[in-house]
């Protein structure tokens, strides 16, 4: 299907794909046959958040750029598709507009963002993210403010949405893993390891980071569009920084390197969270506790741990 991908890369990708992931993938693709209704709904949600988490994992684990503002991309994508549909544009166009808007935002903020480094980047992404949140929240005329934006009549069946979301996720993971093998991806990893050195080799690190950020933005924006179609509703709450923190939890829980971990983390988190929040309204306690435990005791995340325990893939990272 992707003729331009050299055979070697494809082989590499297959080799790196542990049985656990393959088994999981089959299950997820077959999910519409096995389960319906709410479970399928959650599975689709997990796939969409998986896409956003994978993008963050690419940015954080491989690009070394800590972002606590991913909710902005998600929200921009969601509003973009919602408003496009409201304006009567065809869905396909809306699905193009969403990542484009998120990428544009990434470009504009990135130009400011990468003037600083490290923890400052984290704080700035957070601040910019909250800025988008406050705009979405207050700009009633366009976003519907606190009342949100209802999407009507997208006519997408849950099965189609699920397969679409999952397909996107798989494409994103495959594409990003290939990208990480390419000179661009390796250079990005090199910048994370030693930016000064890479710059002294003649690489304009600023632009490499910027493009990684823009790419992440586009992917997350696409995920956001998916979430909007999936829920048929866009709420400014999704832009609040807790969503960014949640994505961070998903990534760290699964493991920030190798991208599989992030997808796994999103799946795990979505189901556990849905389950826990039926029992108690104190689920922040649960998310927070999980975050603390992960940081203290499972630095690599659960996916590498699982892989080692169960055998199979030889180091997917």
């Amino acid at each position: 299907m992707m003729a331009w991908i050299p055979q070697k890369a494809l082989k590499e990708w297959r080799r790196g794909l542990p049985w656990l992931m393959r088994g999981g993938l089959w299950l997820l693709f077959l999910a519409p046959l096995l389960v319906q209704g709410y479970t399928l709904y959650l599975a689709t949600e997990a796939a969409l958040f998986g896409l956003a988490a994978v993008a963050l994992s690419f940015l954080l684990g491989h690009g070394g750029i800590p972002s606590l503002g991913q909710a902005a991309f998600l929200g921009l994508g969601a509003y973009a598709v919602g408003l496009s549909l409201k304006a009567g544009l065809p869905l396909a166009l809306g699905l193009l507009v969403a990542p484009a808007v998120a990428a544009l935002y990434a470009l504009l903020t990135g130009l400011l963002l990468f003037r600083t480094h490290g923890i400052f980047v984290l704080m700035l992404t957070l601040a910019f993210g909250q800025m988008v949140y406050s705009v979405a929240h207050k700009w009633n005329a366009v976003t519907g403010g606190d009342d949100g934006l209802s999407l009507q009549g997208t006519g997408l069946s849950p099965t189609l949405l699920h397969l679409g979301a999952l397909g996107l996720l798989v494409l994103a993971v495959a594409g990003l893993r290939l990208l990480l093998q390419s000179p661009y991806g390796k250079t990005l990893e090199a910048i994370r390891q030693n930016e000064e050195k890479v710059r002294s080799l003649g690489v304009p690190a600023f632009y490499y980071k910027l493009w990684a950020y823009v790419l992440t933005g586009a992917l997350t924006g696409l995920a956001g569009a998916g979430v909007a179609l999936h829920r048929t509703f866009v709420s400014p709450h999704d832009l609040f920084w807790l969503t960014s923190a949640t994505l961070m939890v998903m990534v760290l829980l699964g493991g920030s390197r190798g991208l599989f971990g992030a997808a796994f983390g999103a799946l795990l988190y979505t189901f556990v969270q849905a389950w826990v929040s039926s029992f108690t309204e104190l689920w922040g306690l649960f998310v927070g506790g999980l975050l603390i435990l992960t940081v203290l005791f499972a630095r690599e995340g659960l996916w590498p741990l699982l892989e080692r325990k169960l055998g199979g893939g030889r180091g997917s990272a």
Binding site: F120, S134, L282
Partner: protein, 287 residues
């Protein structure tokens, strides 16, 4: 109109001083312990609820004002000692840990105190308005204003004159060299974390009567404090002070003239500062 502007200026300044209390703690902690404490707003909430409980139990706001920061500070010390120290030098992990901690504290508070809005009356002696001829203004914000300025001067004095203050500044500048001069950086860092969280707790006690106490305030306060230090410059108390004033005034007048866009104005201010001076208005360039 002039009266309106004056009233709003005082309002803004009072809120600015509350922000200063928070930003000061955040800034001190970052300077010495190198931790961006995103649980800061949660410590604020903790202080506010403890203040409420103590004020009711002891029947004395002033005693609560004294005891609560102590308690919150002790908790801060414990957090530094048992959770953060093991992650020394790993900024990202520390930040994530404080995020988690913030969620946990906020949710525990909700579990214990419920989600109802609590409003704490100011102490009787500061209740109600002050009449200045035709001009009428509540006493409590004036108290907050005075407290903030006094604290700013006091902290400056402490940092400038006392051995502990000089040690704090030395550790901020060069922890290794400080330790070669017999200053124990770990202990200074621990104490500073305690002082920083105590300031957040104090902010909670002081802030509760000024603005109400409701779930979700923790994230809001953390964010405000963060914006203030980003604008003012991280790790400098002057930065926290002037940054808080700037944010307070922009927020206050923004609310007055463009209520819907107030928060957006603050972020725009921040983006502007960053574009022109990434290290903050009074910040030093960070390598």
């Amino acid at each position: 109109m002039a009266l309106l502007l004056l009233t709003q200026l005082l309002n803004s300044l009072a809120f600015a001083m509350l922000l200063f209390l928070l930003a000061l703690g955040l800034s001190l902690i970052f300077g010495v312990a190198r931790v961006v404490n995103l649980a800061h707003g949660a410590f604020y909430m903790l202080g506010a609820y403890l203040g409420l409980v103590l004020t009711n139990a002891l029947g004395n706001f002033w005693l609560a004002l004294l005891l609560v920061p102590l308690g919150v500070g002790l908790l801060g010390v414990a957090v530094e000692r048992f959770l953060l120290r093991g992650l020394h030098g790993r900024e990202l992990e520390q930040v994530l840990l404080t995020i988690g901690l913030g969620f946990v504290i906020a949710d525990l508070l909700r579990g214990v105190f419920g989600a109802a809005i609590r409003s704490v009356p100011p102490p009787p002696e500061l209740s109600g308005p002050l009449f200045l001829g035709a001009f009428l203004y509540p006493k409590y914000p004036l108290f907050v204003l005075g407290l903030g300025v006094a604290l700013f001067l006091a902290v400056r004095l402490v940092l400038a004159r006392t051995p502990f203050g000089i040690q704090v500044r030395a550790v901020t500048a060069d922890p290794d060299m400080a330790s070669a001069l017999a200053v124990p950086p770990a202990r200074v860092s621990l104490l500073t974390f305690g002082v920083g969280t105590a300031l957040a707790g104090l902010g909670g006690v002081v802030g509760a009567p000024l603005i109400a106490l409701a779930p979700g305030l923790d994230a809001q306060m953390t964010l405000f404090a963060l914006i203030v230090v980003v604008i003012g410059g991280l790790g400098r108390i002057e930065g926290a002070f002037w940054g808080a004033l700037l944010v307070g005034v922009v927020d206050g007048f923004g609310r007055l003239f463009l209520p819907q866009a107030a928060m957006f104005l603050i972020f725009a201010l921040m983006a502007l500062v960053l574009a022109l001076k990434p290290e903050g208005l009074l910040g030093r360039r960070v390598a």
